[in-house]
């Protein structure tokens, strides 16, 4: 059954904000969060006093060990001290692993639709000061089921994806070289994103193919760069949105991945992941009452490049095992028929755990995406009315569908 919102209560994006995303930043999380939050609120034509709900996905599993601040993300109690709020009525901070950054807009949408709040801020931080190794595996003891993998020297960023990717390559006859199609396009899109860490530096095919290996068949460019940056969106209800400058992106469906075939602490099989991914897609489409052919704008999680192929297949944009051929510039470029991750995704913008896709979905639907604004096909009118946004990796993801009107 498609989601039914109360009359006038369809949740919609009305503002967005982003800081520069940089490799390292030695300032405080607070200053960055303040900047992004105020930018989003101002963009919505609102003031701090209008905001009465805050929704944050704050997965606690992510954090470098550094300087007394163990978190890359910013939680709600911290957020309360960053802006001089006066009218907060409700907030939720979710630690759900089966979420990703889509959890924020999902929570906000449900609260808005239920009338719990009227204007909601959704925000996600990446905090990455210099001199810190991201996600250092420390210690000499591996407890619980993590011992079933860590004792084999497994567990550094991307390795869980690399082992699935290799199965994909062998099973479907794909080649590592084909992934350049996605990665180079993400970096190309990032050139039009003024906040992206890769803005100003377009990598080449040779750069990609010869880049430093991390977990072969994955190299450094298959992994998003941990960055310091904050992105935020403001959402409200349809009845209130008519008074804002550029509402767009009415939430029409949402889903979270079922984890029924996930085995804690060990790597799931490609086949199990595909089954879970497919279930999320089916539930998402049913909740929105649309199908793959209705989707104009595509945002899928690319924290690790192989996920892009698998999400494109799960959401039905191409057949299983064929995304490696489909996901090339002729299809996915901004000028192509299936624009994908138009702000550069995680790989082009930098790692804010999928929030870039949420932020950019809002931008495109609101018509505020600047040089990236779709449609871009010269002389050919094309609808760009329905967007899908998925965040989160294999076996741990959430998604929403929204419409321009």
């Amino acid at each position: 059954m498609p989601i039914q919102w109360p009359k006038g209560k369809r949740p919609v994006f009305v503002g967005s904000g982003s800081t520069m995303c940089r490799r390292y930043f030695d300032g405080t999380k607070s200053s960055r969060a303040n900047e992004a939050a105020l930018m989003a609120i101002q963009d919505a034509g609102l003031t701090v006093d209008d905001i009465d709900g805050i929704y944050i996905w704050a997965d606690p599993n992510w954090g470098p060990n550094q300087r007394g601040d163990t978190k890359v993300w910013l939680d709600v109690p911290h957020m309360m001290s960053v802006v001089n709020w006066n009218n907060i009525r409700h907030w939720i901070q979710t630690d759900s692993p089966a979420a990703g950054s889509c959890a924020g807009p999902q929570l906000a949408a449900m609260a808005l639709g239920a009338g719990v709040c009227n204007n909601a801020l959704v925000i996600r931080t990446g905090h990455h000061p210099a001199g810190v190794r991201y996600r250092q595996v420390s210690g000499q003891m591996a407890g619980g089921s993590s011992a079933l993998s860590t004792v084999y020297g497994h567990g550094v960023g991307g390795s869980g994806q690399a082992i699935t990717y290799q199965r994909y390559l062998e099973k479907y006859g794909a080649k590592r070289e084909e992934m350049a199609g996605y990665v180079l396009n993400a970096h190309r899109n990032a050139q039009l994103n003024p906040y992206a860490v890769w803005k100003g530096r377009q990598i080449t095919y040779d750069d990609y193919i010869n880049s430093r290996l991390i977990a072969y068949p994955m190299s450094v460019f298959d992994n998003d760069m941990p960055v310091d940056g904050v992105q935020a969106v403001v959402m409200t209800t349809e009845d209130r949105a008519k008074d804002t400058p550029h509402p767009g992106g009415y939430i029409s469906g949402m889903a979270a991945i079922p984890m029924h075939r996930s085995r804690g602490g060990v790597v799931d099989s490609l086949e199990a992941l595909e089954e879970m991914n497919d279930w999320q897609a089916k539930n998402l489409y049913e909740s929105a009452g649309v199908g793959p052919k209705d989707i104009d704008l595509k945002h899928v999680y690319d924290g690790f490049s192989p996920m892009v192929w698998m999400w494109l297949e799960a959401f039905g944009f191409c057949e299983r095992g064929e995304a490696h051929a489909w996901c090339q510039a002729n299809n996915i470029a901004l000028e192509g028929p299936h624009p994908l991750n138009t702000a550069g995704g995680n790989l082009g913008n930098g790692r804010i755990h999928g929030m870039t896709n949420v932020w950019e979905t809002a931008n495109q639907m609101m018509g505020t995406a600047g040089e990236r604004q779709l449609p871009r096909v010269d002389g050919a009118l094309r609808n760009m009315d329905v967007a899908i946004c998925e965040t989160g990796p294999f076996g741990s993801a959430s998604s929403f569908i929204c419409t321009r009107e």
Binding site: G144, S145, V151, Y152, W198, L213, V267
Partner: protein, 182 residues
């Protein structure tokens, strides 16, 4: 930070033939041949949880034991509270020795790790094996006594493997896989 920000600072691009931790991995021409007879010394060792104690106790004795539902006879790994296959709360879950025969399911070659004891071993293969007892019954491993190259050539899906136990000390042995002897 404002729009006048001087711009991002990024590290140098990889130039060629990824060099990681002093280990060169040429992508053209000769690729290093790799073989391990053991992965010891292990810098990181398992702390058996209550659920996994039978598994590690079995390994210490040179046996690969996997939790099996006595109702539907399915294997569950890692161990579960209720069988993931039949869901029968009344079915007994018991650890049973398995054949140790498996096939290679997938792999990757690790070039960059911060897992204690493995920094000096890169590059090395991490593999998943599928035990012959049941589809989708996967175990992680390295691969011992098998020559492969630094880009994984030779590691093909379906390669027949068998378990071998890599002794860490009198209390701990790590299940590893090697090509089948017969």
């Amino acid at each position: 930070m404002t729009s006048q920000d001087p711009g991002p600072t990024v590290g140098p691009l990889g130039t060629h033939a990824g060099v990681v931790g002093g280990v060169a991995a040429p992508l053209v021409g000769d690729v290093d041949k790799l073989m391990h007879t053991t992965m010891a010394p292990y810098g990181i060792t398992p702390v058996p949880s209550a659920e996994l104690k039978p598994y590690w106790d079995g390994a210490k004795e040179g046996k690969l034991v996997i939790q099996r539902c006595q109702g539907c006879k399915s294997y569950n790994h890692p161990p579960v509270f209720v069988c993931n296959y039949c869901g029968d709360r009344d079915a007994e879950l018991k650890f049973e020795q398995v054949s140790g025969r498996a096939t290679l399911y997938t792999h990757y070659i690790c070039y960059d790790t911060s897992v204690a004891g493995f920094e000096e071993k890169v590059p090395y293969a991490v593999i998943l094996v599928e035990l012959e007892e049941q589809a989708d019954l996967l175990l992680m491993s390295n691969i011992l006594n098998f020559e492969y190259d630094a880009l994984g050539s030779g590691l093909k899906m379906g390669l027949p493997l068998e378990v071998v136990f890599d002794k860490v000390n009198d209390d701990i042995s790590i299940p590893q896989f090697q090509p089948r002897s017969n």
